[in-house]
Every structure is written in structure tokens, then in C-alpha cells.
């Protein structure tokens, strides 16, 4: 029997507001444990929450950018459960009236377009962190993260493959970064995804029993978790057993998921309206203002790059999927006015260096204007392409200014025929075997001799001139 997978996603995004959702503590990541806390976010007796309006603004922005309807009359609800990272023993969230509903994000996988429906987006507060100390065999609590504002973005069960999930997350991340509501750093936990997954026989219209996988913190891990859970569920069914509805924890190191203890599954959250907050009414004007202030979103940018610059769709897809690559692209273009060349450099050298140095696009630090300058220097014949790549590596790692670096290290392209001629003659003299081979009609030798010349010229010569002089001298033999 063939099976198909049905998945839905719950994505938690930490908003990049300056202060927390219900108090004025900073949301900054890190900091010594329990230094970003006050009586409110640590849930001391008698405290009351006051809603940070920026959170509402960011939620509206996200809703508009993901084609949602904005709920005009909003309320918060309490979700009650005991856990040491939750000092009030309830999370203030939205159950009954989430701020955004019925949106969608369009994705494309292997040339097939698909619209993923967004059920709702709601505002809530983050919990603290528990740190287990193996030396003292105890668990310590850090409340710094308590009260950092979150959006939970809940999709409909519209995914049928891991690739679709990754495409959606990539797009969602790009949108959130474009509209400046979150830095979406998965490694710092500011973007976290839970996957609801079920399988069913192909052709069946009924949904199978789903499991929820939590604690997945990279795109690659998500892809592996999906594959692993899909295989596990099919095996369970083929063994004639039933999939149990439960929450499972994906252990990416072991490549397996395991069921959380049944007590952890048996929550009755006893939701009820948060009596300490008043309802929030969102006006038409507010929504309009947000709509008008949104920047160009990935979809629109992609279309414009293709139309305006004639760039390949594949390249544009990659560049526009990251706000930081877009920044590099636009800044470099502004300097050299050569979109095609900038795009080639990003797709080639920038991404190569990023991957070699394990740098995420948001952590790239070089001044993109220098990339534009470098492109102009290549075009103007000041450096050859290979030397330029070396200069770029220095730019990438140490943010050097290209022209200065070229001058300092004497990397200018050698265009002087007499210098080249001297070297060519020397190479011909020192390689009699190769010359014999060439005379016998082996053209491949030309490449070797060319390489020898460039080596002696320390790679700085204009390759066109070297080729010309070398061929001229060979003809003379």
C-alpha cells in the first residue's frame, strides 16, 4: 500500500520588539541568567500585565503580509499549566479571538505552485528556560526569556512533503525578516517549528491520527524529523497497530523521535479570558496605515528582479529568500549598476564563502558597497577575475576595502607586454619537452605553458595578453 503524508505547522516566532509583551524589560537575547526580569515577568504576587502596543502592530504587519484577515476585537486568554519555566503557571495567549485569521502563503516546489493556508496567528508570551546542571544534578531556571513576545502562526494541514514544509518556512522566514518583526534566528530559538504529521493510504480522504513533533531547531532537522516520523507511522500501520495521538520529541542526534511522558500529554489547559487585560480594538485606519507602510515583499521583489534585470529565476529565488542577501544585492548594484554581475558574485563567491565559513546570511558583515567596487575594478581591467576572488575572500572575512587591498599587496593586473614577453620566453626555454609535444600537434600543452606563465606572473597578468604573447612566441619556434 502506498501512503501519503499530511502535515500542518505551528511556527513560534519571537518578535524583535525592544521590550517584553507585558512589562518594560528588554527582550535582548543572552544576558546573565535572571538579569532581564522584573516583578511582572517573574510573576510575583500582585502584579498586572500591560500590553506592549508594538506587539499588536507587529502582529498586524505579519497578518497583512500573509494575506490574513485582521480580527478587529481582540482578547487574550489564559492557558493554565504547571511548569517551572512558567512563573505565573499560566501563559497569556489568545484562544478565542486570535488577531489574524484565514491567510495564505504561496510556495513553489520543483516548479509546482501551491498555496498553504494559514488558519490563524495569535499573540502570546514566551516562557523561561530550564538549564540542567549535570554536576550538581539540579535544574536551574532562567526567566530572561519570560514575557518575550511571540506570534504563533498556525497553518492548515496543507503540506504533503518535507520539501513543501521547507519551502514554506523559507518563505515565511523571508517575509518576517522583510517586514522587520523578527530576526528569525533558529539557533537562538527566535523561530521554532512544531510539525503535526499523519499518514494515510493514497486516495483516502480521511485524515489519519496525527502526532505532534516539538523541539526541532533547524530546517535540516525538520526535513529529517518528517522523514523519520513518516516512516515510523507507516511501519506502525503496516504492523497492524494504531498510531497514537501524542506529542513526540525529535532527537536529531539519534535521528529518532520518542513519545513524551503521557502526563505531559494529558493537559487540560482550562482556558478562560484573561481578566487583567482589556479587549483591544483595531481600527480600519490602523490596518490601512500598516498596509501602506509595508516594504516590498519577497514575491514582488522576485518578479521585479526578473523583469527589471533579466536575472535567472533560480538565482532570484535564492537572493530574495533572504533579506540580508537582498541588502547585499541592492547595495552592490547601487555602486556598480551591474545587476547580472552582482547576482553572479552572490550566487558564486558570497554563498561559497558563507558556506565555507559556516556563516548565515544575517551574520555576513562585509560592506556590500565594496562588492560593487570590486566588480567595477574587474570591469575596468584593474584586477583580473582570479585575483578579484582572492581579494573578495579578504573582504568577506576582514571587510577590507578592495582598492586599498589591491594597492597594498600589489595585485594590479600586469598589462605590460614586455614583462609578459620576458616571462613567456623563460617558460619556453625551461620546458623543452612541452615544446616538443606542442610541435607534435598536442594543443593541450598550451594550457600548461599558460599556467606556468601565470604562476611566474603571480596570477596578476591579464590572461588575454599572456595568451596572445605565448601564441605569438610559439608560432616563432
Amino acid at each position: 500500500m502506498d501512503f501519503e503524508t499530511v502535515m500542518g505547522l505551528e511556527v513560534h516566532v519571537e518578535l524583535s520588539t525592544k521590550t517584553k509583551i507585558f512589562c518594560s524589560c528588554t527582550t535582548e537575547f543572552g544576558g546573565d541568567p535572571n538579569t532581564h526580569v522584573c516583578e511582572i515577568c517573574s510573576g510575583m504576587p500582585g502584579v498586572l500585565p500591560v500590553l506592549n502596543e508594538q506587539v499588536v502592530e507587529f502582529a498586524i504587519r505579519t497578518g497583512v503580509a500573509t494575506n490574513c484577515e485582521i480580527t478587529r476585537y481582540n482578547k487574550f486568554d489564559r492557558k493554565n499549566y504547571f511548569y517551572p519555566d512558567l512563573p505565573k503557571a499560566y501563559q497569556t495567549s489568545q484562544l478565542y479571538l486570535p488577531i489574524c485569521q484565514n491567510g495564505h502563503i504561496d510556495i513553489e516546489v520543483n516548479g509546482v505552485k501551491k498555496s498553504i493556508r494559514i488558519k490563524e496567528i495569535h499573540m502570546e508570551e514566551d516562557a523561561g528556560k530550564l538549564i540542567h546542571d549535570p554536576w550538581d544534578d539540579c535544574t536551574l531556571v532562567d526567566y530572561n526569556r519570560c514575557g518575550v513576545p511571540l506570534l504563533e502562526i498556525v497553518s492548515e494541514p496543507d503540506f504533503s512533503s518535507g520539501e513543501e514544509v521547507i519551502a514554506y518556512l523559507t518563505k515565511l522566514k523571508a517575509i518576517l525578516q522583510y517586514i522587520d518583526v523578527s530576526d528569525c534566528k533558529m539557533e537562538q530559538g527566535s523561530l521554532r517549528a512544531d510539525v503535526n504529521l499523519s499518514v494515510r493510504p493514497v486516495g483516502s480522504t480521511e485524515l489519519g491520527t496525527r502526532t505532534e513533533m516539538k523541539n526541532i531547531n533547524s530546517f535540516k532537522a525538520i526535513a529529517r524529523a518528517i522523514e523519520g516520523e513518516r516512516a515510523r507511522q507507516i511501519e506502525v500501520i503496516q504492523e497492524g497497530k494504531k498510531v497514537i495521538q501524542e506529542t513526540r520529541r525529535w532527537d536529531d542526534n539519534k535521528g529518532a523521535s520518542y513519545a513524551m511522558r503521557s502526563k505531559e500529554n494529558a493537559h487540560d489547559y482550562r482556558y478562560f479570558p484573561e481578566p487583567d487585560l482589556v479587549p483591544i480594538e483595531i481600527s480600519e485606519e490602523w490596518i490601512e496605515r500598516v498596509k501602506n507602510s509595508l516594504p516590498e515583499l519577497p514575491e514582488a521583489k522576485k518578479a521585479r528582479y526578473i523583469a527589471e534585470f533579466g536575472l535567472p529565476e533560480y538565482d532570484v529565488d535564492i537572493i530574495t529568500s533572504s533579506k540580508d542577501l537582498v541588502k547585499i544585492f541592492e547595495r552592490a548594484c547601487a555602486v556598480c549598476e551591474n545587476a547580472k554581475e552582482v547576482s553572479n558574485w552572490i550566487m558564486g563567491e558570497v554563498l561559497r564563502m558563507a558556506s565555507e565559513t559556516n556563516t548565515l546570511p544575517e551574520d555576513i558583515t562585509f560592506d556590500a558597497a565594496n562588492l560593487g567596487k570590486l566588480i567595477l575594478l574587474v570591469k575596468g581591467g584593474v584586477v583580473n577575475r582570479n585575483t578579484a576572488k582572492e581579494v573578495f575572500e579578504k573582504m568577506f572575512t576582514d571587510n577590507v576595502e578592495p582598492e586599498q587591498n589591491i594597492n597594498e599587496h600589489n595585485l594590479k593586473m600586469v598589462n605590460d607586454d614586455s614583462v609578459v614577453l620576458e616571462v613567456v620566453k623563460k617558460v619556453i626555454d625551461e620546458n623543452p619537452n612541452s615544446i616538443t609535444q606542442w610541435k607534435d600537434g598536442n594543443d593541450k600543452v598550451e594550457k600548461f605553458l599558460m599556467g606556468q606563465c601565470m604562476k611566474l606572473l603571480k596570477g596578476k597578468a591579464n590572461p588575454a595578453i599572456v595568451t596572445k604573447v605565448l601564441l605569438e612566441e610559439l608560432q616563432k619556434i
Partner: protein
Amino acid sequence: MDLCQMTALELGKKIQAKEISVAEATKAALDTIEQRDSEYNCYITVCKEEALKRAEEVQKGIDEGKLTSPLAGVPAAVKDNLCVKGMNTSCASKMLDGFKPIYTSKAVQNLMDAGMVLLGKTNMDEFAMGSTSETSKFGAVKNPWDSNRVPGGSSGGSAAAVSAEEAFYTLGSDTGGSIRQPASYCGITGLKPTYGTVSRYGLIAYASSLDQIGPLGKNVEDVAEVYKAIAGHDPKDSTSVKQAAPQFTLKDNVKGLRIGIPLDFIGEGTEPDVKAKIYEAAKILEGMGATIEEFHMSELKYAIPAYYIIACAEASSNLSRYDGIKYGYCADKYDDLTDLYFQSRTQGFGTEVKRRIMIGAFVLSSGYYDAYYKKALQVKALMKKAYDNAFAKYDVLLTPTAPTTAPEIGKSLSDPLKMYLSDICTVSVNLAGLPGLVVPCGFDSQGLPIGLQLIGNAFAEETLLNTGYAFQCNTSFHKQRPNFKTGKEA
């Protein structure tokens, strides 16, 4: 006259006139506490050293002309569910053993700014849950009018302290009658302001949508002055109403005031003495030019179940944070995290608190929410509408505060349902978020005080206080004092 017999405003006036020093007043109050509190148990914490030090500070402020409030230098106490920085705040519960807040509640801060000398924290029902002030970890409070009787609750310590002259005024909190009913039982004056008038910031929550802080004092003038000092918008309380602090001068004129008596408040359980005194009070007000009319408010029959569902639901959530981990009581022995929660909460909370947490958890649990909590919210809306209709016809409603006078200690807790039913006259006011004022209006055949409840429309505290003031200008019930027992003599 003994210094402690003065009203807060009489004392404040003498302090401003330099006839009495703040230190003298403070010492007198501390002496009275020393003499009487072992009998009445009004206080959980008495801050003698801090109060004497504070008295000097306040005196300096007054002498330098910085503290000009009529309450400046007047020693007072606050209920032990109001946070005061660095001072034990227990809610009369073992659960908050040793807990010292890191901040001061807004209402207390407002009074500090006006020059209050804080004597200490008053006794109460554990977490403000109760009508008798018997459920305190620190023992029952006794009624100064009869030490065998309860002072009412949950602000029993605050009411008894005023009645026993152990504080010139106090703050209490009122979720379902917790200021008004003890004021009535103790023969003093108490105000539960409109919901949202006084910031709840720093009031340890029982039921967030019903809780309100208010003053208790010897007469309406004192209560009005304290009310003016604590009311006003607080940006730290989202439910606090955006309006300026109230400013008014009391007027003793009730001519043309339309007073309604909702007959449903005077049911079968109402003692004849209580009923008689309420009608006598109505006659007095009528004699002063008010019009009196009886009417029906049949919705009242839903008030008690709705109140207990909402209050317990919110309490079950509000009290979840006491888990033995961050502060307060923690069990010595436990197996794992769940057992730590279980043991700490089982040992830390008293019976009544546990009962209400369980009721609350039940009514909110999945499958029961619609049948209980949602219905209760509908009743709340219905109650509000019933009051809206009443206030279309009347300026003030006049009712008993409780069906009976103070019961004997030890007679109430064994039958919690019966105890809940005795809240019939007060809980609907909280459901509708309205202000309620209690003034003494006489005594029953056993000499126990009876309180008259005046209910006003939202934000009509001024009308309410004027009515009470007019009543007190023409009566002397509020001037009666108990025959005090001192713990030392006994």
C-alpha cells in the same frame, strides 16, 4: 478623649496644627495594639520600629510643608494581601511563608505619598476567601463588640482594627463583600469603590475581575478622604479607568434623592432586627427629604452561583503561581516535580482555599466551560443590566449588608454552602462592578452592630458618600464604641 478614639481627620487636623506630633499618635496607636491585639488578633504583622522611624520622617515632611494632606501623619494599617516592599505579606497563608515583596502596591504607595504611617498588616481570611476571618494561618480575628463572634471577612482584621481603635483607618479588599460585610459586623464605615477606580497593582489577586481595594474607617468623612487618596488612573493596571483622581467636598443634603429598596435583598433568611433597622434607616433618610420606593430585582437569585463560579475560576488560575518553587512555602520531602507541586500546595493551602481552587479548576475544565463559566459570565452581564435598569429610576439603592449580624466563632466553616449564601447582599455589586458603602444603622437585640448598604451607579461614589454622610450627620450609630477587652486583663 483618648487619642485613639479620634477619627483620622480629627487627628490629621491636630497633627497639622502641631497640637499632636506624629510620633505621639503613632505611639498611642502602637500602645493600643499592644493592649488589645492579643484579644482581637487584628494584626498579622506590627511594624513597631519602622512605624516609629516613619513617624519622624513624616513629621519632618509636615514641618517642612511638604506633606499637607489631611491624612498626613495618621497611623493606619493595610490588609495583608497588599504588597509592601520588604514587609512580610502573607495573605494569611502558610503558602506565602516568609514572602517579602520587592515592590509596593499602588494604593499603599498613594497613601505613603500622602504621609501615612504604616502600623502593620491586618489579618484576614486566607487569600481573602471567606466571610469570617477564621481561615487565617494566624488564627481567627475576634469581633471587638463580642469576642466570641467573628468580625466578618475577609477583611476582618482591617474592620476590627478600626473598631478596636488599633488603627485610625485601614485598607481592605472586596471581591464579594469583603470590606462591606466586616464593616457591618464591626459597626464601622467601609467603601467598596467602582471596579477600576483604585489600581489593583500590588493587590495579591483572588478574583481579578471582581477584586477592588477600598477604605475602612470610623465615619464617612474618613473613608471619603482615604478614597480620594487611593483612587485615580494607574498605567500599571490595564483595568484601571482613565480618569483623574476624584475631588469633592461632602454635602449632607439628600433632598430629592431617589432611593430604591430591592426587596430581593431582604429574603427569608434576613433576621427581623436587621430588617427593622434597615427600614428605620430608610425612614430617617426619607425624613431628610429623600424618596423611598421598593422594587424587585429577581435576577439576584442567580448572583451567588455566578459569583462563586467566576471567583473560583479566576482564583484557581491566580493561585497557580504558588508552586513551592519561587518563594513562600515548599514541602520538605517530595519525589519529583509533580510531587513537589502536590505536596507544597497540599500542605501550604488551607481547606477553604483548596475547595475554591478545585471548584475553579472544575468549572474551567474542558467540557464544562460552557455549562458553568460561560453561563456565569452571562449572569454577570444580566446582573449589570438589572442594575442599569434600577439606576434609571433610582440614584441610590438601600439594602442590608448581610442577612444577620456577626455569627459566633466556629459556627460557619462547617457548612460552606450556607456561608456562601450569607453573601447574598454583597456579591451582585461586585459582579456589576458597582460601588457600595456600608454605614452603621443600629444594633440588634444582643447589641451587635447592623450595617446599612448603599449601592451606587458606576463612578457615583460621590453620591454614595454624600448619602452616607448625610445619614451620619443625623445619626450617632457610628459614634458607638464597643466595651473593649484587653488581652492582658483577660
